[in-house]
Subunit: 220 residues, 2 copies
DNA sequence: ATGTCAATAAATATCGATATTTTTGAACAA
DNA sequence: TTGTTCAAAAATATCGATATTTATTGACAT
């Protein structure tokens, strides 16, 4: 038993812990868009030294969740309607690309992972962990594309979008639509290998959410 | 008062200096793909402390030029034929998108910036600074797209591609083709507002370079 | 030979202190 | 008022030292 399984009780680094905490806080809006992120403040808030905080913030820069200005510190990335629409456009293009590649390379294994992630998402509807399952479902759809960079972009853009959902409605924009049916439609088409239908359903899913959020975000 | 007179320009932070140096070294292959990047080694090489080095490496993670493994340090991003082709595909899609947006929003100002960057690139053919001017020309083509994130992605992908040019041929892959004519064709179409022709010329430009590099990169 | 284990070496990660830069604000002049 | 200057305060950036973790080595048993 010399191989350690790091899903278990492995120690996590202070930097990674800080990264995850800060990321979460920015996504849900606890650290509001545009807010100055002072090292000392975060240092005490997270109980770590300045180095891990700075490193975590540098990493978050890669996710476009934090802006870094040389010699002038860090701030949570600003939010705007234009930025939201930019994210939506890029997401549509890149996820469309990834979904089509995924479907074109369909395998039984992918199909099974899809079934599983779809099931879990339905099961967790309304629960604390739905958000996680929802992202997992969408990423699984794209996961067969054999393009790590494309998937990284899609994952990044997905997260950036989450922030706007929280900005618009405290995280729950799923009140007035039959989200489950929309997911079902994407899922069915993907499993059936119908790239056109799957892509259309996915883009419509995003456009509906996008249009709704746009109206809510007027204040920005 | 300060140690160095930096040709009159603003004093640069150690982190930023380290970032720029390391980036350059990775792009031109002085730090080879996959190489372990030891903090102490870089620290002495760059004459700075460990913190700026770590921070610079964290930032380079965002550019996908450095990989970070928790508790196990950093390494220059590995290179592979598959990765190169992934970059080419993504670049083609995203630059096509950006170029069409740029042309659709054409203004006299953009036209003038285009003329200038094209002229400068021609002027600097064969010189030390051609690479810089070449990137500037390509980025100017896309710069009118009013989509900062798209431009960031395109710039990132452009840089990642540079690395493969150096890997394949020490930086000069421009021997057997009339690169100037290819640029001229893109430029003319863009200025004429012909999105179809410009996009076709741009994609062909990338495909020709890509095909050539692919043959050179067999060793990977 | 081959694999395990513990001691050692090496490297990473982190902290606390300090240097540097930017920001603030009060005094003063136009 | 409005703008300028400059010292104090605040915040960022950086360093050097240390704690923690991972990698290496060689003795020893199989």
């Amino acid at each position: 038993m010399n191989m350690m399984d790091d899903t278990g009780s492995r120690e996590i680094s202070a930097t990674r812990a800080a990264y995850l905490s800060l990321r979460e806080m920015i996504l849900i809006g606890k650290l509001p868009a545009g807010k100055k992120l002072k090292i000392e403040e975060l240092r005490t808030m997270l109980n770590v030294g300045a180095s891990p905080v700075r490193e975590a913030l540098s990493l978050l820069t890669s996710d476009m969740l934090v802006e870094r200005i040389d010699q002038r510190g860090f701030r949570a990335a600003p939010a705007s309607l234009a930025n939201f629409e930019e994210i939506l456009t890029l997401r549509s293009t890149l996820e469309d690309m990834a979904l089509r590649q995924s479907i074109a390379r369909a395998t039984p294994d992918w199909e099974e992972r899809l079934v599983l992630s779809h099931h879990r998402m339905k099961r967790l509807a309304g629960s604390e962990t739905f958000e996680e399952a929802h992202k997992s479902f969408h990423m699984t759809l794209l996961s067969n594309a054999d393009s790590p960079m494309l998937q990284r972009y899609c994952s990044q853009l997905y997260d950036l979008n989450i922030r706007y959902r929280y900005l618009a409605a405290g995280g729950s924009t799923y009140q007035n639509r039959d989200i489950a049916a929309e997911h079902e439609e994407i899922f069915d088409a993907a499993v059936a290998g119908d790239a056109e239908a799957a892509s259309a359903a996915l883009l419509s899913h995003y456009r509906l959410t996008g249009d709704y959020l746009s109206t809510q975000l007027g204040a920005l």
